[in-house]
Each structure stands twice: as structure tokens, then as C-alpha cells.
Symmetry: C2
Subunit: 466 residues, 2 copies
């Protein structure tokens, strides 16, 4: 795994290269090291090199690039922070990797409208640092410090989605360069619109196959008066899940609620030098006024106690909260830490809430007899959870075992009315599952792709084969 | 206006009619009265008759209909409750009006998953009656007792959208018959998914031009412990709007907040025999626990007082609340009541929150010098408001005046970064404005339309011309 494979794609012609240089100057790269940085993911997929990497600074350069690539029929693959995990940005047909990380300007913040517009390469942590002094925050948090453009492209969500929604809800408008070289805005800045087809939502989650997102207008929220965090352990998975389901049914607006299984807790304790009980554990966050947060905590504490929860540790201290969420955000690296030198395969599914306890429990049983270590963690308020398979890169049988376990997991989620991916996207890894999940609906996706990108140059081979 | 125009469309051939009869039996209608019921809207658009009306009972019949219509190249126009206002279901090219009102089964309710699946013809009030005993509710409320399928097709929203979102957020999955006669499901029942293009959102708001929605899976919510309503009058529009903006910035989760101008309040008082002050007025609703609702009311009351609000009348009594919201829901008829024998033209725009007071105030100034009566009311928490022009159907100059005022209104909203329609859709009425708002993005919509409905048979001529 992770070997560098030189693509069979013919080398870029001199005229095309001259065209690239005219647009990008010294922001055009052919070196193997740079290309290798743009050839893979943080996951187990094989690295494949693009033929060139460019670093645009403005939308107009992306337009010029796209027109050039159309002229010479060269694939174009957008790249954000490289933190996707399903091979979403692997340039399997070579071509040009368009690294948007230098388009990192926060273009405007409108506190009275609770929105902002950023370039695609802005990372979510930078954005929140910028917003903090204005009393605002951007809630979508997929764990990794991804770019906003990448998060839009994979329809990312994460820990706050239970309260604040996913990128689908967070985005008001996009600026997109389409395969025919148009520079479009998909919507105005109004908070809702019934004006024609929802091109904004069509682009969100399209993984760069329909257009390159260069600017994003985002909904923002006021930083709550009080933010409180809590941790509670459970003897059973069902006890933890039921606590969340009942809390949501009671109308408690949980801002975050994460589940970590015993194995993941063990990994977290080792990695972050903590001493939590190594049991199924919920990490909570509550937002609101002082009185209302206290009330939420009280309700959830009672529900947890009724479901076999242990001590309910809660705190209003920012440093406690930071420690807790840092541990959660490092969970992936913590899992890899269980097996030095390992490579991870993080997969995710999402099921209707009422099936979640059963789905996690059955998965846990599978993992108990597996020949590789694996942890479970997830955004339990959405019915979404991850399994991280921890693989020895020198043991091909580990990959086979992970494939077997993943197939059982995804098949189970689909049988329960769920989806093969809650937030990672399809990329290369879930294409067969997408067809199994949605059948003929995938043909409709293909119709849309052929109409908008008839030459199949935009991140070709992702989501589905044409 | 509202004259019955027989379409120039050639009469349906005998073989095609035989085919329709084979599918629908006595649920196939050619009578002029039935056709006229399916030829217009509650608004000012000219009525145009379909050639036939059918009443399917199941998706399979819609599939058979679509295949037959493709064979004979006959247009197909879906019809729900006929409450849309932009000519969205006017069969301008004749063909078959597909009345889904007899597909009115609630197919399943899953309280543990907080979702349900209904046929497209179920009306929102029926659904909520059914859900009440389960302690659940479906929040989207566009005023009219529309069908869920129609609400999906126009991306409807309404009074609760500020807290619970629009149809875009409320729908988990759709069953759709596509122009090529496929019967697809756009998604599973998971609360989020990153599995491929968002075909669900593509169909929501497509006004039947890309497919006929036959079933909808909806997110539900638990009925809050306490529901409280309040009314407050303001001397100025800005005072009312600023109260809402500041409340939202403070994080108060307003469940409903409606603005009505002095003219609309006068109409409401007359129509509903009430005696509210005839000033700019906010109608509020608060949801939550007893303590939290009390806290919300207190915060908003203080903010209102700071913004020149008068007495803040609030109540937890269901009968008070019902009276209040019935008055709000009958606002359209109340406005028409200002001028006996009139016909209404309700238009809507949506602007960024920070521009709302300015937009409403400028509109109010326009209306002050207009030659026709008009009222303003809106979902102020979203930046969305309506103007109802009250026209004398015998005075063509009234229509000209309304066109002038509407053009100023929409033009102003677009200049402010807003949209030409927050929730009514484009239909026939806003097509030029859509192009002005989104430019080349409309071409992308056309590409999608041509790919999915190459023969242009599904509700032809709506949203844009091809």
C-alpha cells in the first residue's frame, strides 16, 4: 500500500505546459515530491501522481486553467488539505492537481447577516480564530483541519452536526468554475431561496466532479453564552445510544455528542495520557444561556443514569473542554497508535437513530473476532459512526480482513435503511456500495455528470464510473 | 384575468386516451369543470386547461402514465392542492394534469427515528393530526394546507422555518418517477449522507420539471413541553425587525416570528374580528421546557422594549395561540377582504437579515404612493417577506401597477444580495428575475433539465424556457 505508482498517462505536451506556465508562473510544479503530496490521502489508498500541480490565487486563474485543460483534454482534480479518506482526490487519470490552499482569504464577514464569504482554501480553524473576536463561530467540525472548499466538496459534517447541521445546511452560496469554464455563483446570500434548481446543493458533495469550488458563503452562529462539556461511561453500547436518542426525543439541543467504544477509549488514554474508564463513553457539549445549559445537563444526566451511565463529569471550564475535544479530535491518530507503523482505514456509515444501538453492537461483535485491531467512534446524535481499521502495511491479509469487515458493516447499514457514508463521501472506496444503496438513482447522477462535464475531465472516476 | 383559455394543443389521440383509460379507469377525466380546477392557481395567473386529469393511487400508475406520455410526447404536469401562487402548475402546453390528492396515505411513522413516509397527496394538517397522539409534529407550515408533494416541489417553508428549516432540511428521501419512467428513491432514511450527488435536493424545488414526487420521507420533531405565543406592536418597521435580528444574534431559538405591517393588521382585524393596534406587529412562538420558554420570553421582551415595542402580550393558553395563528394563516384572505371581489397577487423576496429593515421600509414607501392596496407580511427571522397586491380583476391598470411595484421590490432585493423568491418558487412569474439573479447558473439548470427530461415533457415552460 501507499506505493508511488507512476501513471501511464502520456506526459503533458509542451504547448499545454507553456499554457500552464503563462497562467501560474512559478506556482506550477512538476517535482515528484510535490506531486506525491497531491497523490493520495490520509487513508489506505494507493498513491497516484498527478502530472502537474498548480496553486491558483484567484478564480480567474482557475477559469483559465479549465479552458486550457478542455483544449488539451487534460483531467483536473481539485485539492484542499488532503484530509479526505475515501481516495476522493487521488488523480487516477493523472492530469493537473489544483491545490487551492493559497486561495486562503477570508473575503468578508457580515455579523448582522450572520454570514461570511471565504476562498476555498481557508481552513476551518483559521476561520474560527478570525471569527472569535466578533463573537461568531462556524460550527462544522469534521475533526481534521480541512479546507472549507474540501468540506463543501465532500458534504462534510462532524461533531456539531447534531445541532448545527452539515455543510449542506451551512452553505448559503458557492462560486464555482464549471467544466465549460464558466465562473458562476449558485445563489445569493439570503438564508433561503426557492429560485430554481438547487445548484448549490448539487455542487456540495459532488467531490469536484461537476465544478471547482473557489468561494463559499457560510452561515455563522453567535458564540453561546455558556459552553459546557461532559463525559459519561456506560457498561453497554445500548445504554449510551439510548441516552442520546431519549435526550433528542426530549428536545434537548445537544451541541455535540460523540460515542467512543472501549477500544477507542483505550487508544485515547494511551495517546492523550488520560485515565478515562475504558468503557463505551459519551462526550457531550451543551450550548446556551447559563440557566438553560444547567437544565440541559440535568435532563441528560437523569436520562444517562436511567440507562446505566456511570459518573456524569461535567465542566464549564474552557481548559477541561479543550482537553476533552483535543482527545476526541486526535482519535484517529490515537487508534493508529495502538499499532506502531500502522496505516488506518477509517470508514463510516449512518443509520436511522432507532437502529443505531443494534448496528454498533453487531459491528462490535464482528470486531471482537477480527484479526486486526479496530475502534468505533461516532457522531451518535446523527446515527453516524466510524470504524477505524488499523492495518499493518506489510500484511496484505490485513487489508483483506478490513475489506471483509467493512462489507459486513456497510451491508448491515444499508439493510437498516441507512447509507454507505454519512460524511466521508464515495471517492474511490464506496462506489459499489453507492450502486447497491441507490440503484437507478446513480444513473440519474451519471446523466447530470455527462451533461455538465461531457468530456469527463473533472476529477474523473470518482463517485461512479461513467 | 382568470379567464378560461382553451389551449391550442391538439386533442389527445384515441390510442393515447385508450392507454390512459387502461391505467386509470374512471379516475381519468376530460370534463371542463375538472380541467378548469387544474388549470390555475390561487393567484392572478391566467387559467389554462390541461387536456385530461388523472388521479393515480400508486407510484406504479404514475410510471405507466409517464411511459405512455413519452410514447405519444404528451406533457405531464403534477398537481397537489393547487395552492401555489406563481403559476407553478398551470399546464401551459396542455397535456395531462396528474392530481396526486388521492395518493394520501401515511405509509409509516417511526417515532424512534423521528421520521415518517407519506404519499405525495397527504396534506400537512392531516399529517400533524395523525402525529399528535404520538407526541410528534412536522413543522413546515407555508400557511396553506398544501400537500407534502407540492411543498417539496416548490421548496416551501413558512412560519416555522426560522427554527426548523425549510422543506430542503425537512426531507430525508423522495420516491420519484423520472421522465424516462424510472421509479427511484433518492436516498435512504439516515439523517445525513455523503453518498453521491444530492438528487434529493435537486428534486426539491424543481417544480415537477425533473420528476414526479410520489412519496416523501420526512424528519419529525417531538412536540415541545411548552409552546408559548406573544404579540408585540412597534411604531417603526425597523424596531420590529431589529428585535428579531438581535434575538437571533443572542441565540434565542425563536420557533416562529412573523411580521405584519399596519395595513395587514387592519385587514386581520377586519377579517378575524380582532382589535390589535394597527401598527407593525410581530407574532412570536416559543418552544421548549417551561423554564426555558420563560427565559426566552424574558430576553425577547427586553429586546423588544429596547426597540420601541409596545405591550408584550404573551400566553401559554392553546386557545390564545390558535386564535393568533389562525389570524396569521388567514392573512391572505384578510388582505383580499380589504377590497371585495378582488384577486390577489402574493409575491415574495428574501434578503440577508441585515438588509431586511431597509428593504421592508423602502417597499412600504413604494406602497404608500401606489394606486392599489397592498399588505406586507413575512417570516422575518429568515429575511423573507411577502407583499400581497390586491387587484380589481376588471382594472387592467391594477395589474400594471402591481407589475411595477413587484419589479421595484424584486430589483431591490437582488441589489441587496437577496433572492427573487424565498419560498414561492419561479413558476411562470419570476423567470426573468431568476436570470437576473443567477445569470449563467440558469444555463446549468437548463443542462440538467435537458439531460433528465430531453423531450421537455415534465411541467414544460416552468422555472426557465429551454
Amino acid at each position: 500500500m501507499a506505493s508511488l505508482v507512476q501513471k501511464a498517462h502520456p506526459p503533458l505536451g509542451g504547448e499545454f505546459t507553456d499554457g500552464l506556465r503563462a497562467i501560474f508562473g512559478d506556482r506550477l510544479h512538476f517535482g515528484e515530491a510535490v506531486r506525491a503530496q497531491h497523490g493520495g490521502s490520509e487513508s489506505h489508498f494507493e498513491t497516484m501522481l498527478p502530472d502537474a500541480v498548480v496553486f491558483p490565487h484567484k478564480t480567474e486563474e482557475v477559469v483559465a486553467l479549465v479552458k486550457l485543460c478542455q483544449q488539451y483534454q487534460i483531467p483536473v482534480v481539485p485539492f484542499g488539505a488532503g484530509t479526505s479518506v475515501e481516495g476522493n482526490i487521488t488523480p487516477i487519470a493523472g492530469g493537473v492537481s489544483v491545490d487551492l490552499s493559497e486561495m486562503n482569504q477570508i473575503l468578508s464577514v457580515n455579523p448582522e447577516d450572520l454570514d461570511c464569504t471565504v476562498q476555498a482554501g481557508v481552513r476551518r480553524e483559521e476561520l474560527n480564530e478570525h471569527l472569535r473576536d466578533l463573537g461568531l463561530f462556524f460550527p462544522i467540525d469534521p475533526g481534521a483541519n480541512a479546507t472549507i472548499g474540501g468540506m463543501a466538496s465532500t458534504r462534510a459534517s462532524g461533531t456539531n452536526a447534531v445541532r448545527y447541521g452539515t455543510m449542506r445546511e451551512a452553505i448559503l452560496s458557492l462560486r464555482v468554475v464549471t467544466p465549460d469554464g464558466r465562473d458562476i455563483r449558485t445563489s445569493g446570500r439570503a438564508r433561503k431561496s426557492a429560485a430554481g434548481y438547487d445548484i448549490t446543493r448539487l455542487m456540495i458533495g459532488a467531490e469536484g466532479t461537476l465544478g471547482i469550488i473557489t468561494e463559499i458563503t457560510l452561515r455563522l452562529h453567535g458564540i453561546p453564552e455558556v459552553i459546557s462539556s461532559a463525559v459519561c461511561s456506560f457498561e453497554s453500547i445500548a445504554g449510551g445510544v439510548d441516552t442520546v436518542v431519549q435526550s433528542i426525543q426530549m428536545g434537548v439541543p445537544l451541541a455535540r455528542v460523540e460515542i467512543l467504544d472501549d477500544m477507542q477509549m483505550k487508544a485515547v488514554n494511551l495517546w492523550s495520557k488520560l485515565d478515562y474508564p475504558e468503557l463505551t463513553t459519551l462526550f457531550f457539549e451543551f450550548h446556551g444561556t447559563e440557566a438553560y445549559v444547567a437544565e440541559q445537563v440535568e435532563i441528560v444526566r437523569d436520562i444517562a443514569a436511567d440507562n446505566g451511565g456511570g459518573d456524569f463529569h461535567w465542566s464549564n471550564l474552557p481548559e477541561e473542554r479543550t482537553k476533552l475535544w483535543r482527545a476526541r479530535h486526535e482519535a484517529y491518530y490515537a487508534a493508529l497508535g495502538l499499532r506502531p507503523g500502522s496505516v488506518g482505514w477509517p470508514t463510516d456509515v449512518c443509520v436511522p437513530m432507532g437502529r443505531l444501538a443494534e448496528c454498533i453492537s453487531a459491528t462490535k461483535e464482528d470486531l471482537g473476532t477480527a484479526s486486526i485491531p479496530a475502534t468505533i467512534l461516532g457522531h451518535v446524535g446523527d446515527g453516524n459512526f466510524h470504524v477505524i481499521f488499523v492495518l499493518d502495511p506489510d500484511r496484505p491479509e490485513d487489508l483483506t480482513e478490513a475489506e471483509r469487515l467493512n462489507a459486513r458493516l456497510v451491508g448491515r447499514a444499508l439493510e437498516m435503511g441507512g447509507t454507505c457514508t454519512g460524511e466521508h463521501g464515495i471517492g474511490l472506496g464506496k462506489q459499489d456500495w453507492l450502486v447497491r444503496e441507490l440503484g437507478d438513482t446513480v444513473d440519474l447522477m451519471r446523466m447530470v455528470k455527462r451533461a455538465i462535464d461531457p468530456n469527463n475531465l473533472f476529477n474523473p472516476g470518482k463517485i461512479f464510473t461513467l
